[in-house]
């Protein structure tokens, strides 16, 4: 594209499914540098375009696929993009990331984002062939699982290299934790974005891009790529473990320390619970490692199992740690083959493994307590530790059959139909089921879950490191320090961004997401952990430890303060909004009532938030 400045095209594709219209949008020249990509573009779009109080399934909701400036650049980790919408699970800011190849392909096709609005009269899919875009009939694909759909789309468009983002039957059936599946194994899992896509009658977005992504300084990019490939993959190197086993090689450490997520977050240890880990997958399946676009780390599992009752097709990838725990130990299941099978089913049907596993675990506890009656159970047996119950229910949730119909609403909505006792046992933040790291033992998660705009999300990026990785389109696993991230951004774009500016970009993202959530009715008391996580664990070394509510609320207030928000209400201060260049956005979004006035002005020349360093540590391997 002649318009490109380095790796950014400044071209958004707008698709109105109600009218069938597609158009090219060129954001204002300073927009891309101000917002960069990922969460910031999503938050800006949702704030300024989604009418306040709309239902997530209203055609006016927007479904945004936003790349970052580094997405598609030929460097390890340059594969990520983010998908967002108002969430049908939380009713708030919804967003989730994926890697793989789809985002890079969209960049190669000449786009920085796709914004979808409206609802098609019948199922369609979007075909992006470089700069040529068409909506095509998808009625013949509706009801199909992801595997056959990808093959069918590639077949009918006559190109095996097409990359497909799609929903499975779960998204069609508006399962509130349905996900968007890319390349069959890379999912934007959290917050129910697949259901939003389903509500729009959009089955898939197929992309083919043939233009190389240019970087402003290819030599700097190549230098970083060389460092990863030549110095970090050997034993002892920064990426060696991920390179060899992917995520989940150290699950046993959680078991020993006593915070393995088990039996709906009641138990920190589970006999055999550590048998579902990356080492067991290596030992008991036909495992190969695969990669995302341009990434020499190659941490993606491809699991093949030939056993007749647990046949698993490697094209669906393999379980990451979160999935291992969500449908493994948290449901009491310790059968690694069953977990691999469950993972395949989730990717074929298009559901988030964390919310699905957590909802099933909650339902298992409800059965134990007798809180689900015969009619609701509809013949279903549901016992902690039963792989057969687990696998059967995954299928029934996606098809909304029997008890599956209730659970397809997510654990919080399901619980509210059963009463207070049931609701008290839901492990969620803001309606999003909590990810598989126990904040009773992990301070970084204790600080993260309550304030992450998406809810109980470990990648939800309340912190600077994850927040910026999301925005620039860089994988969380790469052990780049802050300076290297900045080097990559500038080498990709040619922008000469300074650390302070990059920090402001992060603040802009969290503040916009905050304004969206406040406008959509979130209260400061929603920034909390659920009851269960304030109760002691039943087993293991942490069984006497209690996490106090004061600890969490103090940390939440500190988070508000650090970000230039009112510590009492969590509302961004007007000077913060102004400093970040968001005053007009807040006005256009009807969000000014949720902006607070600071009593004591901050000293001149100081930003209204606290500059932070990136916290150490990648997301859990």
């Amino acid at each position: 594209m002649s318009r490109s400045q380095g790796s950014v095209h400044r071209r958004f594709l707008r698709v109105d499914l109600t009218t069938g219209g597609v158009s090219v949008e060129e954001p204002e020249p300073d927009y891309m540098r101000l917002h960069m990509g990922g969460r910031n573009v999503i938050a800006h779009t949702l704030l300024t375009e989604v009418p306040p109080g709309s239902d997530a399934f209203d055609p006016e909701n927007r479904l945004v696929f936003a790349l970052g400036p580094i997405t598609g650049v030929s460097v390890p980790g340059g594969s990520r993009h983010s998908v967002g919408a108002k969430s049908p699970l939380t009713g708030l800011f919804g967003e989730s990331e994926a890697g793989g190849y789809w985002g890079a392909e969209l960049k190669r096709a000449g786009w920085d984002a796709v914004i979808v609005q409206g609802r098609a009269a019948h199922p369609v899919y979007l075909w992006i062939d470089d700069g040529v875009v068409a909506l095509r009939d998808a009625r013949h694909l509706w009801g199909e699982t992801t595997g056959p759909v990808e093959a069918q789309i590639r077949g009918e468009l006559g190109d095996e290299h097409i990359r497909v983002a799609q929903i499975g039957p779960a998204g069609e059936n508006l399962v509130r934790f349905a996900c968007v599946v890319h390349d069959l194994n890379e999912v934007a899992g959290r917050t129910g974005l697949g259901a939003v896509m389903g509500s729009k009658n959009l089955k898939a977005i197929a992309v083919r891009g043939t233009q190389p992504v240019t970087a402003a300084d290819p030599r700097a990019i190549a230098g970083v790529a060389r460092w990863v490939a030549q110095e970090t993959l050997a034993p002892g190197g920064a990426h060696h473990r991920l390179h060899t086993w992917g995520t989940g090689a150290m699950v046993k450490s959680k078991q020993l320390e006593g915070h393995l997520v088990a039996n709906n977050f009641r138990d920190g240890q589970l006999p055999g619970g550590d048998q579902v880990d990356a080492l067991a997958i290596e030992a008991s399946t036909d495992l190969e490692m695969d990669r995302c676009y341009a990434c020499s780390v190659r941490c993606k599992k491809r699991v093949k199992i030939d056993r007749p009752d647990r046949k698993v097709d490697p094209k669906f990838g393999g379980p990451e740690y979160e999935t291992m725990a969500a449908i493994g130990s948290n449901t009491g299941v310790i059968d690694v083959m069953a977990v691999c099978k469950g993972h395949e089913m989730l990717n074929a049907l298009g559901m988030d493994s964390i919310s699905c596993g957590a909802t099933i675990a909650w339902a298992m506890e409800m059965v134990e307590l007798g809180l689900l009656d015969e009619r609701q159970l509809d013949g279903e047996t549901l016992r902690f530790g039963s792989a057969d119950d687990l696998l059967r229910l995954i299928g029934r949730i996606a098809r909304r059959e029997g008890l599956g119909d209730l659970l397809a609403e997510g654990s919080l909505r399901a619980a509210r139909t059963l009463g207070a006792e049931a609701e008290a046992r839901v492990v969620h933040v803001k309606g999003l089921e909590v990810a598989m790291h126990d904040p009773r033992a992990m301070p970084e998660m204790r600080r993260n879950y309550p304030v992450t705009p998406t809810g109980g999300d470990h990648t939800g990026a309340a912190g600077k490191r994850s927040g910026l990785r999301n925005t620039v389109g860089l994988c969380h696993f790469l052990q780049y320090d802050e300076a290297t991230t900045l080097t990559l951004l500038n080498a990709a774009t040619g922008w000469e961004v300074l650390p302070e500016e990059l920090h402001a970009t992060f603040e802009r993202g969290v503040t916009m997401a905050r304004l969206f959530n406040l406008r959509e009715g979130m209260q400061p008391e929603d920034d909390r952990l659920p009851d269960r996580l304030h109760q002691p664990l039943r087993h293991g070394p942490l069984r006497d430890r209690r996490l106090s509510r004061e600890t969490v609320s103090d940390e939440v207030r500190a988070y508000y303060r650090d970000h230039g928000w009112d510590p009492a209400t969590g509302r961004p201060y007007a000077d913060t909004v102004e400093y970040l260049g968001l005053a007009a956005v807040a006005e256009a979004a009807q969000a000014t009532p949720f902006v607070a006035e600071r009593r004591e002005p901050i000293p001149a020349g100081r930003p209204p938030y606290t500059p932070q360093r990136e916290e150490n540590g990648a997301l859990a391997e």
């Binding site: 034993p235 002892g236 060696h240 473990r241 060899t244 086993w245 090689a249 150290m250 699950v251 046993k252 450490s253 959680k254 020993l256 320390e257 006593g258 990356a278 080492l279 740690y321 790291h437 992990m442 970084e444 998660m445 993260n448 992450t452 470990h458 990648t459 939800g460 990026a461 309340a462 912190g463 490191r465 994850s466 070394p541 916290e615 150490n616 540590g617 990648a618 997301l619 859990a620 391997e621």
Partner: protein, 85 residues
């Protein structure tokens, strides 16, 4: 009994890449440490103490580095999982 101290034979189970610190193959490996040794002595002897963070188990229970070893003990050696967001 004199002052002679016979070495102690214990079993170690290093996870994933931590196997590189120990001779031999297989998930569980036998190693010798001086009588009266703690886990810390074992870690130092095999260079594992170079790892910035470790989670240790002794016969299936979480253990500290100063735990004293006895013949036949099984020591699990892992790196804790992080979740920095």
């Amino acid at each position: 009994m004199g002052a002679m101290t016979l070495p102690l034979r214990v079993r170690v189970r290093p996870y994933a890449d931590l196997t590189r610190y120990f001779p031999g193959t297989g998930a569980v490996r036998e190693v010798d440490v001086p009588a009266g040794a703690t886990i810390q002595v074992l870690l130092e002897r095999y260079g594992v103490d170079a790892e910035p963070r470790l989670t240790l188990g002794l016969n299936g229970e979480l253990a500290e580095r100063n735990a004293r070893l006895a013949s036949g003990d099984l020591v699990d050696i892992l790196v804790p999982m992080t979740g920095g967001a």
